[in-house]
């Protein structure tokens, strides 16, 4: 479904990604694990078409995305959940949800979103940035599901969240997966990653250095932790 090959990226002179490659099959949840600065967020930005200095190949459903703009990539079914949650201060919660066009065959309705997240319904007319961190995270995830995105690119959705909210994010991703949504997840919370993912890629110094099935995590935990610098 999503295939990345020989992806390199730069910030000015500094190379952040070095021939990175990975693939995510339909309906899979795959995590990208690595230390801060390993290039995880940059990889997601390259896939989304938001990073200007890059080289390599990104394919969605067998079609190279090439220099396709970010909005066109979104319309092909990519849904970006940025690490800062991407809430608009000048838009209400409802406007945040209804801003994007629907791009996939199975978009969540506004009613379904509010049914799943009563807290968002209660604050539907408030500016999105007045929500708590956890509510903003739910809003960001709900927004791409409402778009009907087929592939979610989630950048550390559990960062800074209380354990109960981390669990809610996990439940939401599992439900999305049940409905056939594919997820590429950047995550440093190994416990969370193993609770939702089918496979993991390890990224170090801009390279994908290892891949493992979720079932292998227990036996290779030390290797994983070393990639995270723990």
């Amino acid at each position: 479904m999503l295939r990345i090959e020989n992806l390199s990226a730069w910030y000015g002179e500094a190379q952040v990604l070095r021939d990175a490659g990975l693939h995510v099959d339909p309906g899979e949840v795959v995590t990208l694990v690595g230390r801060n600065g390993a290039g995880k967020s940059t990889l997601l930005r390259c896939v989304m078409g938001l990073h200007p200095g890059w080289r390599g190949s990104v394919e969605l459903d067998g079609t190279a995305l090439g220099n396709l703009s970010a909005d066109r990539r979104a319309r092909r079914g990519l849904g970006w959940v940025p690490d800062d949650r991407g809430s608009y201060a000048t838009l209400t919660v409802t406007e945040n949800l209804t801003l994007p066009p629907t791009v996939g065959p199975d978009p969540w309705s506004l009613e379904r979103v509010y049914e799943a997240f009563p807290a968002l319904y209660q604050r539907r007319n408030s500016a999105a940035t007045t929500l708590s961190g956890g509510e903003q995270q739910m809003l960001a995830l709900a927004r791409v599901l409402r778009m009907g995105a087929r592939v979610l690119l989630c950048d550390e959705p559990t960062e800074g969240l209380a354990p109960l909210l981390v669990q809610q994010v996990g439940d939401l991703l599992r439900e999305a997966k049940r409905h056939g949504v594919t997820v590429l997840l950047v995550e440093q919370n190994l416990r969370f990653a193993t609770s939702v993912a089918d496979r993991h890629y390890l990224l170090a110094e801009g390279r994908v250095t290892a891949a493992m099935e979720n079932s292998e995590v227990r036996s290779r935990e030390r290797e994983l932790l070393s990639y995270l610098g723990i």
Binding site: M48, G49, L50, P52, S69, A70, D71, R73, A74, R75, W80, P82, D84, G86, Y88, A89, T90, L91, E95, T98, L99, P100, P101, V103, R143, M147
Partner: protein, 293 residues
């Protein structure tokens, strides 16, 4: 009391011009991340457009009020397509060079044709005389300007707050990159929004023609204060630019009325306020630190 009310009213009228100009600058900056130094030149072109239409073709004020902003919007859109859009991802210095260069070209073109002398423009027939407010009389045309500018600002607010296009503009103004990543073709809106911002400058220019001296440098004199207004309101903040426009207009008028013993303070009050606001809130009264995406 009468003097205070009169200076407040005068301040609101000056503020109406600041608000219209700052609103255009804020919308353009928000969407394009371009500080349009040529905005004052378009204001001047608005006034000259009304003057030329009347002097050379007998076109009345009311027609000019509709036609000139539209014509300037088209000119602005053409300039955006030809030049401004090339500034994307370039050093902001190029933004300054290009728009400042445009200002000089537009000013000099007008100077070549009409000289540097101020040209008179009569107050339209229906708006002459004054309105009796009980405690004081106030020129009818100034009352009209205030009402018209407030109506335009409310109309723009309504369009931004209540329409789908307004929602997209607000989103793209606040976080252009994120908005693109959510499937919205922000680029499609850039040229019309630039044209709209220029139309507001042109509208302010037409309104100014009967009240202020129409000359090639009228925009250059005003735009410095308008930039201070935009900074005080918060760069890119649509509400902030309007609120700061009216606020600064009043502060200036009060300073002129009550600080006449300290002319230096009265003349520089806008910049004193700007410095104080920036020390207190570096992003301006209604601005926010730049979002990352």
């Amino acid at each position: 009391m009468t003097a205070f009310l009169q200076s407040t009213f005068n301040g609101l009228v000056s503020g109406a011009f600041y608000a219209l100009l700052a609103l255009g600058l804020a919308v353009i900056f928000g969407m394009l991340r371009v500080v349009n130094f040529a905005h004052g030149a378009f204001y001047m072109l608005g006034a000259f457009g009304a003057y030329v239409l009347l002097a050379e073709a007998g076109v009345p004020f009311w027609v000019a009020l509709a036609v000139v902003p539209l014509a300037l919007a088209l000119l602005g859109m053409a300039l955006e397509r030809a030049f401004i859009h090339r500034l994307t991802r370039l050093d902001p210095l190029y933004n300054f060079l290009l728009t400042f260069g445009l200002t000089l070209i537009l000013q000099d073109l007008v100077k070549l044709r009409y000289g540097v002398q101020s040209s008179p423009y009569e107050v339209p027939a229906g708006l002459r005389g004054s309105v009796d407010f009980g405690l004081f009389d106030f020129p009818t045309y100034r009352v009209f300007i205030l009402g018209f500018a407030v109506a335009v600002c409310v109309g723009v607010w309504w369009a931004l707050a209540r329409t789908r296009v307004g929602m997209v503009v607000r989103a793209a103004t606040e976080r252009p990159e994120l908005t693109r990543a959510l499937g919205i073709n922000v680029g499609r809106w850039i040229t019309p929004v630039f044209g709209f911002g220029i139309a507001l400058a042109g509208l302010a220019g037409v309104l100014a023609a009967p009240m202020r001296a129409v000359n090639p440098l009228m925009g250059a004199d005003l735009i410095i204060v308008v930039f201070a207004v935009v900074v005080i309101g918060g760069l890119g903040s649509i509400f902030g630019s309007v609120a700061a426009g009216f606020g600064i207009g009043m502060v200036q008028a009060w300073a002129e009325a009550y600080l006449s013993a300290f002319p230096i303070v009265a003349q520089t009050i806008v910049f004193i306020v700007m410095a104080a606001v920036l020390l207190w809130r570096p992003a301006g009264l209604f601005g926010r630190a730049e979002a990352p995406a």
